[in-house]
Amino acid sequence: MIVAQAKPIEEILEMIDKYDKILLVGCKGCVAVCAAGGEKEVQFLASAIRTARKTQGREIEIREVTLERQCDPEYVEQIRGFAGDYQAILSIACGVGVQFMAEHYREIPALPGLNTSFMGGALEQGVWSERCQGCGNCVLHLTGGICPITRCSKSLLNGPCGGSSNGKCEVDPEVDCGWQLIIERLKALGEFESRFMEIVPIKDWSTSRDGGPRKIVREDMRQ
């Protein structure tokens, strides 16, 4: 899923400073799962803003809505009837949701309430970790199911650098060395001998963000 984190309340207050009537929109997708932008977080943020504004002596009207998904026109359109009544849309979906709001409601500013961070998953309650950078040409079948692009700080494709120490990455003693993980997993799979010595050729990054904004068109699904 897409993992995101709330922006500091001070930053949000500054963003909405000139408004006194806003629409706060959450999303029941990824950001609800990672407890950053779901229904609960909408309520929580709305009350935090109201309290802060009250202390400033400037009341604010907030309408709270949480959509099924903000990355889907069908749901984004559900606020069509009343969006125009507000001065701004504060979205606590991922960056995609905020942009879909901006694209659909062109006259109203769409503001981000979250910092969208990465594609990852939950390791345990309250801990999320990055797993994929969407390179557009997956190599997980060659690397024991562990992504070298994401989990090696230097995205090395041919084995660990000289900074790998006790299973940790040179960048941060809290971060596992991705290559140590890959090697262990390849060994467990009995694939180490055959895979590790093969020189992985230079990667074609054109399928990644480097090739420009990406788009997938599925002719079979188009109407």
Binding site: K154, L157, G163, E170
Partner: protein, 307 residues
């Protein structure tokens, strides 16, 4: 392909090679690099110039190489893949060759997290092994990575680094084998303090016959003080400083620790020289270039052969 590299020729003759390194200045003054060069005259067969080592911005390696070249050195341009994509890398390879640089050391580079610009975006379009392949392809096939022909090939002696002390230990010789297969002709290792572990790595290297395919130059760095030894042990990832080194430095008065560090370094070189497969030594006296001559002298490495 043979190059004009003095280092290659020294190794070819079967001499025990000596290289050292110069860290470029944090400013635009060419005299600072010339001063460092002066200290190494007649002491080394080739001199490395680091490429924004530890991710701290310094004068470019290639520019310093040219300054040292003008002083009569055979410089080794270090190139990291952290800051350059394949377009910039190939362009710099051509530029280095055109300026008469004969050697290149292919590295992935330290991550920018610990440098002076941790906010920087890194590149890592290719890794160090792929950089070796890139130089080799340009030189031996006369082709860019795109497959297109280039007009005049860059004749570079290709080097790479190896860290026998990083983890996982058991793959370190294999990783060297990969670098050799990619086209590395000489290797400069991480600083060696743990001779036992280095020997173990070297055994594996010799068992695999790699020492016959690549010239291994063993890296050494003299300790200036017990403080430096502790710092290297605890703060530098992939550095192996055994307690006995720290104890030995602790055993002498503070003002004598530098001297003791030099002694340890000389003894290390003498031990390395005896090891099968070690073809030379790479003396990295970090901001202590004035001691390289003393170390080389003490280890009986002077005068350097005339080529």
């Amino acid at each position: 392909m043979k190059t004009e590299s003095r280092l290659e020729k020294v190794l070819e003759k079967g001499e025990f090679a000596v290289t050292s390194e110069c860290g470029p200045p944090r400013g635009a003054d060419p005299d600072l690099i010339r001063k460092k060069g002066e200290l190494l005259k007649g002491v080394v067969d080739a001199v490395n110039v680091t490429d924004c080592q530890t991710s701290v911005v310094r004068m470019s390696s290639l520019s310093c190489c040219l300054i040292l070249k003008e002083m009569g050195f055979d410089p080794i341009v270090q190139m990291v893949t952290r800051d350059r994509n394949r377009i910039a890398i190939q362009s710099d390879i051509l530029g280095a060759a055109a300026l008469g640089i004969n050697n290149i050391l292919c590295l992935s580079g330290d991550h920018q997290r610990f440098g002076d610009h941790p906010q920087a975006k890194n590149v890592y379009d290719i890794d160090s092994i792929q950089l070796i392949m890139t130089v080799k392809q340009m030189r031996d096939e006369g082709k860019f990575l795109s497959g297109e022909e280039l007009t005049k090939v860059p004749r570079l002696f290709i080097g790479a680094a190896a860290n026998p002390f990083a983890d996982p230990f058991e793959i370190r010789a294999l990783r060297l084998a990969k670098k050799v297969a990619a086209g590395a002709q000489f290797i400069q290792t991480q600083c060696i303090y743990n001779l036992k572990r280095f020997e173990e790595w070297m055994h594996r290297v010799v068992d695999m016959g790699l020492h016959e395919k690549v010239c291994i130059l063993a890296g050494v760095t003299p300790m200036k003080s017990v403080g430096m030894a502790r710092y290297m042990k605890n703060m530098v990832p992939g550095m192996d400083v055994p307690d006995e080194i720290i104890e030995r430095l602790k055993g002498v008065p503070k003002e004598k620790q530098g001297e003791e560090g030099i002694k340890i370094c000389i003894e290390t070189i003498q031990r390395l020289r005896e090891m099968e497969g070690v073809r030379g030594v790479h003396i990295m006296a970090i901001e202590w270039e004035e001691k390289v001559r003393e170390i080389a002298e003490g280890a009986g490495l002077l005068p350097r052969p005339r080529i």
